[in-house]
Symmetry: C2
Subunit: 272 residues, 2 copies
Amino acid sequence: MDARPIGVFDSGLGGLTCVKKLMEVLPGEDIIYLGDTGRVPYGGRSRETIIKYARQDIAFLRGFDIKAVVVACGTVSTNGLEEIAGDYPIPVMGVADAAAEAAVSATKNGRIGLIGTKASIRSHAYDEKILARMPNAAIFKAACPLFVPLVEEGRIDPEDPVLNLVAEGYLQELKKENVDTLIMGCTHYPLIARTLSRIMGPEVRLIDPGAVTAERLRRELEAGDALREGGRGSRSYYVTDSAEDFSRTASLFLNSHIEGSVRQITLEGASQ
Amino acid sequence: MDARPIGVFDSGLGGLTCVKKLMEVLPGEDIIYLGDTGRVPYGGRSRETIIKYARQDIAFLRGFDIKAVVVACGTVSTNGLEEIAGDYPIPVMGVADAAAEAAVSATKNGRIGLIGTKASIRSHAYDEKILARMPNAAIFKAACPLFVPLVEEGRIDPEDPVLNLVAEGYLQELKKENVDTLIMGCTHYPLIARTLSRIMGPEVRLIDPGAVTAERLRRELEAGDALREGGRGSRSYYVTDSAEDFSRTASLFLNSHIEGSVRQITLEGASQ
C-alpha cells in the first residue's frame, strides 16, 4: 500500500468531473486537485503555452509528495503531454490515453467520433492514440466551443432549447458518419451526456474520459500494490484565482457539496 | 500637435472593435494595440487579479512613449480602473466612462439598460458612473456570458437561430422594463448590434462604448492641441499568446484585413 495522495489538475474546474469519478472508483485515496482558474481556458492557447502551464501545474502538485498525476485537462492531454510525461519519476496519466483505449474496446464498426475544444480537435493526438491501437479505425471529429460556456451557465437540462440547437448542429456530421462510439473529449461534457446521448441515439456508446481514467488508475495502483483501500480519503482543492465562487461552480461539476479545504495559490515560475 | 501614439488594450481581440472606431474618428493617429490573449478572458476573474493585469498591460504600452491609454476592456474599465488611472501622468480613458456619459445624453425616459460579462454586471461601476450624472436614472442590467463565445464562433448573422434564441432570453427583462437606451458593455457586442437592435426595437438607442470613447478622445486631444491630423497613422498589434491565428480573428473584429505589424510578447512582471 502506498498512502501518498493522487494529484489531479485541469485548466479550471471542469476536471472536478474527473475527481467525482476518482472518488467513486478509488474512495480510500487522498486527492489533491489543482484548478488553474487564473488562466482558464487552455483550449485556444498555443501548444508551447499549454506545455509551459502543464509543467507548472505538475510542479505544484509534486510539492505534496504524490504517487501519481491525473491530467484531467483534455487540452493538455492532447497537446504535448507525451513530451513531458517521461520527465517525472511518477506516473503522469492523461485522460486522452484512457479514453482512446476505451473507445477502441467499445467500437464494433471501427467508426469513432470525438468532440472537444478547438485545440483538442486541431491536435492529432487522439487520432494517433486510437490508430496506434486500431490502425483501420475511422475517426470523425467535431469542435464544440460553445459547450463549455453553456455548461458553465448551467444550461445542462436535456430540455434546454439552446443546448439542444447547438448540440444538434455540432453532432450532425458525426451522426451521418454512423459512428458507434463517441469520446467526450472535454471535462465539461459528461454534464450534458444525456443530451448528447439522445441526439446520437441509444446505440452510440459515450466514453467519459474521467471515468475510464479512474478505472485505469485503479488497475495500475492494484498492479503495483499501491492502492489505498478502506476508509475515506481526504480532498484538498487549490485554485489560482479567487476561491470565492469555487463552491457554487464546483458543486455543479461534483454534483454534490464540496468537502475538504479550498485555497487560492500562486504557481511558482508562472510567467504569465 | 502631439505625434506620440495612442495605446489601446483589451484582454483579448474584442478591443479591436474599439480600434476600428479610433481609426475612423482619429485616422491620423498611430495606434499601438495590446491584446492579452494569453490570459483572456478577464471577465470572471477576481477584482484583484483584474487590477494586476491592467497595470501590467498599461506598463507595456507606456514603454512606447504614448500620449494616452484607451482601456477597451469593459471588464477592466468597470473593475478598479478608477483606482489606478490617477497613477499615470497621461490620460487613461476607460470605455465605461464615455459610455455612461453617452447613455445619459441619449435617454429620454431615464431608463437605461446595460449588458456585459458577469464581472461587469456584478460590479456597480456603471451604476455609479450613470447615477453621478443622472441621480434619478433607473438602471436595468443583464449578464450575457454566451455572447462572447457566440461572436468568437462567428455566429453574428442576424438570422442565426442560436444567437437569436440566446439574445431573446437575455434581453427579455430589459424589454419589459421599457429601457430606451442600451449600453453594449462588452467589446464583442457591436458585432451583434443588428440582432440586439431588432429584439429591443428601433426606438431603443444602442450605445457602442468604443465609438463614444473614440469621439471623447478626439475632443480631449483637440482641446489639448494634441490631435495628429492629416495622413494615415500606423498600427502595431501585440498579443501575449501565439500571433498565428491573429489575422483571421482580428479581421472579424476590424471588419477588414489587418494592416501593420503583429508580434507576440511576454508582459514584464506578469506573475501568472
